[in-house]
Subunit: 210 residues, 2 copies
DNA sequence: ACAAAAGCTGACCAAAGTGTCAACTTACTG
DNA sequence: CAGTAAGTTGACACTTTGGTCAGCTTTTGT
């Protein structure tokens, strides 16, 4: 019986919770918190509504579980801004990683945007503080680069907002972005072109001209 | 009785429709289409629900009326990219005007964002085409500037998306932007600083170095 | 002054929503 | 393999929602 240790009941629970969260991400992203009906999540996850309530006791509980799940995967894409890199490389990597993340996690990205637009009602204080801390650390690195003459004196906070905005836009506002590019849908190569244009433009804008 | 000519019935209708639309903008922006309850719009506009239905026959009709109203005010802020200007001036004006518009029309801006994130379900084909046409015209101007050596060869479509993203972000994601700037709320001077950072960074990124 | 048009609204429905529950089946454990 | 814990679910209770309507009041043109 040795490695039966894989908690079989946990497996069922795990699988169903995953199904519910996956369906929830899609639907919350498209409809927002108030617009989402639990029955719709149940249908999309292939479970009866009552079964959804067996795992989650309310709509809010599903939603906050999703937000937590989403923030967990966030940090990874943002680790490139560190003082031991050269600015050009750091920003290039950051921009690519961020665009890559949003492209591969469309629904999560939109859900997060939706939550913010709707007033960040369910984003925990702790989570906001965590994001602020990361920003502060990045800002400090950029200030170091500026002091070292490796970067022009650009306001680091507005710079990061600009990067955040530019890299999120394609996923969040895909219909608009596609229209702007005269395409029916965005493809990987569009994200690549975006990364190139953003990186090259911004880098020329923040690096000392040689 | 002379100048009673100001169509008195029109006045009542006008006023109430305006109240409903104003309340609708706020609530649709915060809750999205599916999340908005007509009773809430009625309360916010100080009218009984049945009175709202006297002017609009459905939720969708209110919503699309708002979208139309919003797009009408859109074009104005985007008129600065024209071939008879120098790129630097044109982009500076464009960025300022766009930020200004979003700051002064927070709810509209968020409502539009909400509509796009939710899949642009109620944005009419005609309206999307109109926006595409404007973009095409701007792209042509930029291509002219590039051909004339007044700008570096930057992909104009991605450039406009970058500008769009950067200038919308502060209004749409105010809580995030405020956190990023370490402020409780955004003020006019933050929008000014944003305009400066965006304009100066982007301009260095797209103008030939002299 | 007065009829017609416009505006107003409480009360009402059918449909859809959230959340509950008791009874059933399946899975695991000793 | 019996007993218990976990999982499943149709049916139900209660609330909210979009939308209607008949009859009321106000405004307006003449």
């Amino acid at each position: 019986m040795a490695q039966q240790r894989n908690t079989p009941e946990e497996r069922i629970r795990e699988r169903n919770v995953r199904l519910i969260i996956k369906a929830g991400i899609e639907i919350f992203a498209r409809k927002g918190f108030d617009g989402t009906r639990i029955a719709e999540i149940a249908d999309a996850s292939g479970l009866p509504k009552a079964n959804v309530y067996y795992y989650f006791s309310s709509k809010e509980e599903i939603y906050t579980a999703i937000i937590a799940h989403l923030l967990a995967g966030w940090d990874d894409a943002l680790k490139y801004i560190s003082a031991d890199r050269e600015p050009a490389e750091a920003f290039r990597l950051y921009i690519r990683a961020k665009l890559d993340y949003t492209r591969k996690n469309l629904a999560e990205t939109r859900l997060f945007a939706s939550e913010i637009i709707q007033g960040a009602r369910f984003l925990k204080k702790k989570d906001r503080q965590h994001m602020r801390d990361i920003t502060d650390r990045h800002v400090a690195v950029v200030e170091g680069w500026i002091a070292a003459g490796k970067m022009l004196p650009v306001d680091p906070r507005h710079l990061f907002i600009m990067l955040w905005a530019a890299t999120q836009f394609y996923a969040e506002f895909e219909p608009l972005a596609a229209d702007g590019l005269k395409k029916a849908r965005l493809r990987t190569e569009d994200y690549d072109a975006a990364a190139t244009t953003i990186a090259e433009t911004i880098l020329r804008g923040i690096l000392p001209s040689r």
